[in-house]
Symmetry: C2
Subunit: 175 residues, 2 copies
Amino acid sequence: MQLADYIRTIPNFPKPGIQYRDITTLLGNPEGLARTVDEIAEKVQGQGITCIAGIEARGFIFGTAVAYKLGLGFIPLRKPGKLPGKVISMAYKLEYGEDELQLHDGALTNDDKVLLVDDLIATGGTAEAASKLIQQTGATLSRCGFVIDLPDLGGMKRLRDMGLDCFALCEFEGG
Amino acid sequence: MQLADYIRTIPNFPKPGIQYRDITTLLGNPEGLARTVDEIAEKVQGQGITCIAGIEARGFIFGTAVAYKLGLGFIPLRKPGKLPGKVISMAYKLEYGEDELQLHDGALTNDDKVLLVDDLIATGGTAEAASKLIQQTGATLSRCGFVIDLPDLGGMKRLRDMGLDCFALCEFEGG
């Protein structure tokens, strides 16, 4: 069984024409969850990663389990107003409007080598903002790992064009 | 070092008078994260738990790592509009207004014995709604585990009054 086989496709969510790749069926399956976490961890083992960063909310799911597996700490990148301490922020454009990611000031240092984890990369707007936010701290963004890539939407290319080292565990055609 | 020592307190967040217990300092510390996940897992090992459920968003952080550690699947309880499949819902009251939790229909069955995980229990309103939602599926809610209990706010008592078996890894006085 391929990892992609654990992922359910829901047509027309959140709007007509979108094939939504639903990771909850993968998460709910003990083997699916374990394989996903182990495969991400294997891809970065021995590369000197010092911590894992994950994007709210589904990046928390995989990111923390990978951090636990590798014996590292986890740094959450959150939506505005959620982190209680002093934060640094990065705004980014959505299809309609703008959003923002925040990171606790001091959560990362110059010495950190970060693996950024999220469940899926589509156009890459959120991942680009997360990457810039991590780099703004002076830390090195060593790699970006995703469970799912939608290559037709170009997000992985966008990150590679920024000079970032990216991988995904599986991919689906279309958006 | 006690687990509580990894948790930072931020005064007057999100509003004056609240001592916010910030788990990001625990998460970012490899030992803090590992000990938290291991301690939750140890508390439920050998009790026939079949899956872990976690409440958006900080319950995802600990819940998935615990599921991974125990070799189980993870079931997310999410805010409205986030889960793409058919859902069941439970509304609950907030200090001002209402909110709702959702669970994928079919994600839990009569045979499941669930551990519900969240980072913190305060008044217990969200945890009560999550518990009722899990029980509504026919699954058994075997235990509720929290990283932090604020006993002065009565949430744990509220869950115990529902007949639920609860634990927390540490507690803080005040709200």
